[in-house]
Symmetry: C2
Subunit: 367 residues, 2 copies
Amino acid sequence: MSLTVADVDEAELLRRIFAVLAQHNNVQSDAIVLGAGDDSAVIAAPDRSFTVSTDVLVENQHFRTAWSTGYDVGWRAAMQNLADAAAMGARPTAIVAALVLPGATTVAWVEDFARGIAQASTCHNVAVAGGDLATGDAIVVSVTVFGDLEGEPAVTRKGARVGDAVAVAGQVGWSAAGFAALSAGVATSADQTTSADQAARAPAVTSAASRHGATTSADALDATIGRFRRPEPAITAGVQARSRATAMMDISDGLVCDAARIAQASSVVIDLVDPITSLAEDANVLGLVAEALGLTREQRTQQVREWLLAGGEDHGMLATFSPELVPDGFRAIGTVKAADTDNGVEPGVYLESQPYAGNSGWDHFRR
Amino acid sequence: MSLTVADVDEAELLRRIFAVLAQHNNVQSDAIVLGAGDDSAVIAAPDRSFTVSTDVLVENQHFRTAWSTGYDVGWRAAMQNLADAAAMGARPTAIVAALVLPGATTVAWVEDFARGIAQASTCHNVAVAGGDLATGDAIVVSVTVFGDLEGEPAVTRKGARVGDAVAVAGQVGWSAAGFAALSAGVATSADQTTSADQAARAPAVTSAASRHGATTSADALDATIGRFRRPEPAITAGVQARSRATAMMDISDGLVCDAARIAQASSVVIDLVDPITSLAEDANVLGLVAEALGLTREQRTQQVREWLLAGGEDHGMLATFSPELVPDGFRAIGTVKAADTDNGVEPGVYLESQPYAGNSGWDHFRR
């Protein structure tokens, strides 16, 4: 029998979590003035302000333990929060995490979770500054992230200007494709083991696939399922775009849905190029996944377009820039145009100059 | 049928929550540089640092909807977090909240929760800066609080010095007594209604009882049950004690348990006076509750002492000071003495110069 949370008291569980964090939380950072262990931690805010965002992940709503290891869940919880800081142009500095655990959760799962959250944070030089534990009937992970704007203003959703280029950094649609593959019961080479060793190796596999482009369906499945389990948001690109972007956010709920939020906040139209063209590298990988799922050529194109336009949770950066200022690492996918409410052109998303799927986006799209 | 969370979409639920916050979140504060509605909020940190603490409350673990209204749960979630900031000597400035809701939760409960969290925050000029919503099988509330040390160092648990006075601010044992009364099925005048009007009125009732001292068992029941539902931690006293306290924390898990944490962190002995004497005002109110519960005179004294020593969740401030510097609002309850490990005097809590209940405290006390 594996040791469960119900077998140890809170002090012992905390001791084990701190041991994991101490081993993996290798941050060269002076963000933590005072760490965990008192009523509060104290975090540096050299800028005299800080960004804050909070996200909650619920078992069977946002993740399934059958599909994701503790490491994966910790990794995702950290990464999607770090993306929220970067999407304001803020360099993420620290996170705190609250964790609700059923008594039957294995202690190994919790340690694996701590390893995932620590390593994802360490990748971006972010410290895990504290947290809270409680028991409940399902695993709930609540992470709050802090960011430093380093003297520059936050990049909000409001500043998109007519004539700007619309661009994304990071992969688009991979998480949705990986989810679809898992839902279809496709096995991958990564499914055979879920140990910490495997967890540590897998990012290298998916990074290689993403760098060089997947060339086989098997590679594409590995890469997209890896990204679903362990997203790698375009955090550095977001922070670096701070001084150029007129508006920015991360893609949580799908490109069209989130672009519509910028369009609404900025009172503009965002006219997207067909993403099969503008995001051809992603389309190639996603096409291989669609092929592996047995779709016909025609179905594939439609499915790939849907993943690109409606797939969320890659947490790529979606931003608007003066066309001559689109930074390296961003791909132009459309342009900002004027809304003209008097003539029926409401703020929202267009695709190839046609109003897109009704109103303001994709909210009710089947996902 | 009451409107439930499952009947409305997330946008509508957020719209209703923001409407409540806009109405009740009347904060004269420049803490919020950029509010909710983007990827992150931006919070002022004039001190170039900030304190942060996170707490999670789980339905049927930390509260029961049968005993607490949405307002009560929101109030408690805010207050116990504000107490964590104050326990470092930090003035709380802002909070963010993540909320997991079963689909059957009524929208009215959520609005009532928002009202409770907003009003508790407003009492201390703290802004609600953002949050997240998700669905799940039980209500989970995760609150993260930020505080400003205003140029002074944080007050940790480590600084208690031999010869210091040990003192508390705020009520002690009331929440535990109120919980015991509810557990015993005692009805109070406040139980008849749970509307927002009642929620708004009830604090005045309990405040009056606490100011003037409850003189009847009915008053004492109302007051302690009111405090269980809606604690009023000694937040202002904690912030004001910042420059004098050598160590401080809030009493979450009971006086002895938490005093043991200061004793351990500071490597000292904390020798408590019998709290029946040092906390006589509280003992009087708790005695009336014990009487209402039908305990004999002898049982009452024992029960009251137990509530005082082991009752948590009032979130009073427990601090150590040079004896001549104990601030107004704090009551001296003991002294800091030297540990002497060579002679068997381990850091921990003593009561009237006798080692208390074994090791380092009260962790496994029946609560």
